[in-house]
């Protein structure tokens, strides 16, 4: 069932945690709410769960307004950040908890099936304290999923796991979501996790959605400087729009002229920000190929990171630009002090409104 939030606002005293939020999570999608801590993403999730009541606005599941329903009356279930497994119950009883409260029959078959889905068959008689973090995480997932909710809410479910386990669980979660086909609303501060798992990502800041869309679309063409820097890194250069020629927009930044497709511009006049992702930049010791935009700079720092090297260049106007170079090119690392040209294909840059 589709989940819709209409003008949802939540205030705690004088603080507005969620500010007039409107969004639609389509049936069966894997939707990620991404933001730094305090951006309102967890409050949004808790309002959907019924653990907080919105100050204003409506939350709809399909056609049903659930905004004021108590949590136990909502067909949604939550995987809590620290799992919140019942310590006095076995794994089996934890997973069976929701089924038993609703008086569902064939509890045993359903629990067993769910435990095998999360690969914990045979762990039923154990207590949560006897499990590892990753296993507890999967029990929490099973405990919520076994109820076949309309929407599964995941509140930073992988935050407590170490990196390797987190990667494994990301793949696992994605597999399970595809298998059960339930709508997942996933709250995270980890942009890689959000991009990796979700079909749709909403970047939140200060209680509002800054941008919403498919991960590739958002990464390749961010809507604002905030998104450009929250989702990965961006080099943003202050520029002025000169005009248009055909499908291209011409901008000038610090005396250099650049062109890019008008379709990649969020603003087409006045003061703007010219953006380009570090991995889209290529380095050359003499000049850029025709049809590319280029800037000159001096290498100030080189960080070798195995698959790539992260360079910092200082431009003529004293701005630091970062460049990720795949370690696949012939020749060694560039040492600090080297003068270089960084160039990029016009379609790899974008123009944002200067806020």
């Amino acid at each position: 069932m589709e989940l819709r939030l209409e003008g949802v606002t939540k205030r705690f005293g004088g603080f507005t945690a969620v500010d007039d939020l409107t969004l639609t999570v389509p049936q069966g999608s894997f939707f990620a709410l991404l933001g730094a801590s305090g951006c309102g993403k967890t409050t949004t999730l808790r309002m959907v769960a019924g653990l907080e009541e919105p100050t204003a606005g409506r939350i709809l599941l399909g056609d049903q307004d659930v905004s004021r329903l108590r949590p136990y009356r909502r067909p949604v279930n939550t995987v809590f950040q620290s799992y919140a497994l019942f310590p006095h119950l076995t794994v089996f009883d934890n997973v069976a908890f929701g089924l038993r409260r609703r008086g569902v029959r064939d509890v045993k078959e359903r629990v067993d099936r769910m435990l095998s889905l999360v690969r914990l068959s045979g762990f039923g008689p154990r207590r949560p304290a006897q499990l590892s973090g990753g296993q507890q995480q999967r029990v929490a997932l099973a405990r919520a999923l076994v109820n076949q909710p309309q929407v599964l809410l995941l509140d930073e479910p992988l935050g407590a796991l170490d990196l390797k386990l987190r990667r494994e669980m990301q793949i696992e979660l994605k597999r399970i979501q595809t298998e059960v086909g339930i709508t997942f609303l996933h709250v995270t501060h980890d942009q890689e996790e959000a991009m990796w798992m979700a079909d749709t990502v909403a970047v939140m800041d200060a209680g509002r959605i800054q941008q919403l869309g498919a991960p590739t679309e958002m990464y390749e063409f961010p809507a604002s400087a905030f998104v450009a820097n929250f989702l990965g890194q961006s080099n943003l250069i202050a520029a002025t729009v000169d005009g248009r020629s055909g499908d291209d927009i011409q901008v000038t930044a610090h005396g250099s002229r650049f062109a890019l497709p008008a379709a990649r511009c969020r603003a087409v006049s006045g003061e703007v920000l010219l953006g380009v992702r570090p991995e889209k930049l290529h380095l050359s010791s003499d000049s850029a190929p025709d049809g590319y935009n280029a800037i000159r700079g001096v290498v100030t720092d080189a960080c070798y990171a195995g698959v790539s090297t992260e360079y910092l260049l200082r431009t003529e106007w004293e701005q630091e630009i970062s460049v990720f170079a795949a370690n696949a090119a012939p020749g060694g690392l560039l040492s600090p002090g080297t003068e270089v040209v960084a160039y990029w294909h016009p379609s790899h840059s974008f123009v944002l409104e200067k806020s």
């Binding site: 620290s82 310590p87 908890f97 109820n147």
Partner: protein, 300 residues
Amino acid sequence: MSALGQLVSSGPAPVVPPRRRRRWLPYLLLLPGGLWLALFFAIPAAQLFATSLYDPTGSIETGYAMAWEFGNYLDAVRQYAGHFGRSLGYAGLTTVLTLLLGYPLAYAIALKSGRWKNVLLICVVAPFFTSFLVRTLAWKVILADTGPVVSTLNALHVPLPDGRLLATAPAVIAGLVYNFLPFMVLPLYASLERLDPRLLEAAGDLYARPFNRFARVTLPLSMPGLVAGTLLTFIPAAGDYINAQLLGTSRQFMIGNVIYSRFLRVGDYPTAAALSFVLMAVILAVVFVYVRRVGTEEVL
């Protein structure tokens, strides 16, 4: 780390003397308390046990002879079975009532009191700043025939046995409940305070209505506090004699009153000692059965 250590290290590793395990430390820590208990509990208890087997025909003036009189126990139980029954009944009722009063109180303080938590906790403990005896005497005034409670109940036409409260079983039980309430509230508070509120949210999220949430999550997780609180109430209440002494009459006397008067008024040491041991055994048996039934591994 260790692999790197092996690669890098050359030559013999420096010999680090293993830190001496101080195996004697726990015993040292046990020593002061252990000595204290040996001196003031174990030895007197053994002495008391010996006393319980003295020839009952003796007296303080003529002295007692050790006669291994196990019959003292039979006589004591036979003669005072009613008092034992009353003690257990009063103590049981007191425990139930303190639990009914104390659980909501502890729950409210632990989970709902916000910034008033410390003030409320101080209120619970405040009675301890005055003596047990003084507080029970105050109840004598409160429950007196001309006191506020009786006159209010009279005004409301609530029938009272013999038209009074003082010197009745309800007065004794009320006093016991009052005096032992903090012993119930504090352990309950301690276990409810540790309760993770996210577990309650999880229960609600998993379709548990408030009552079910309480019965399936809150109550089981507060069992250690509940067991501790009921034991801390039941055990001293079963042996109490002050409340029956001050708020009751000889018809409300508990086994503690009998032991007190056998020891200090009549000077019948063997019977008093035998009663003390029977009381101890009865309480141990009750507690054992109770804890086995409730089955919280955390407590025993």
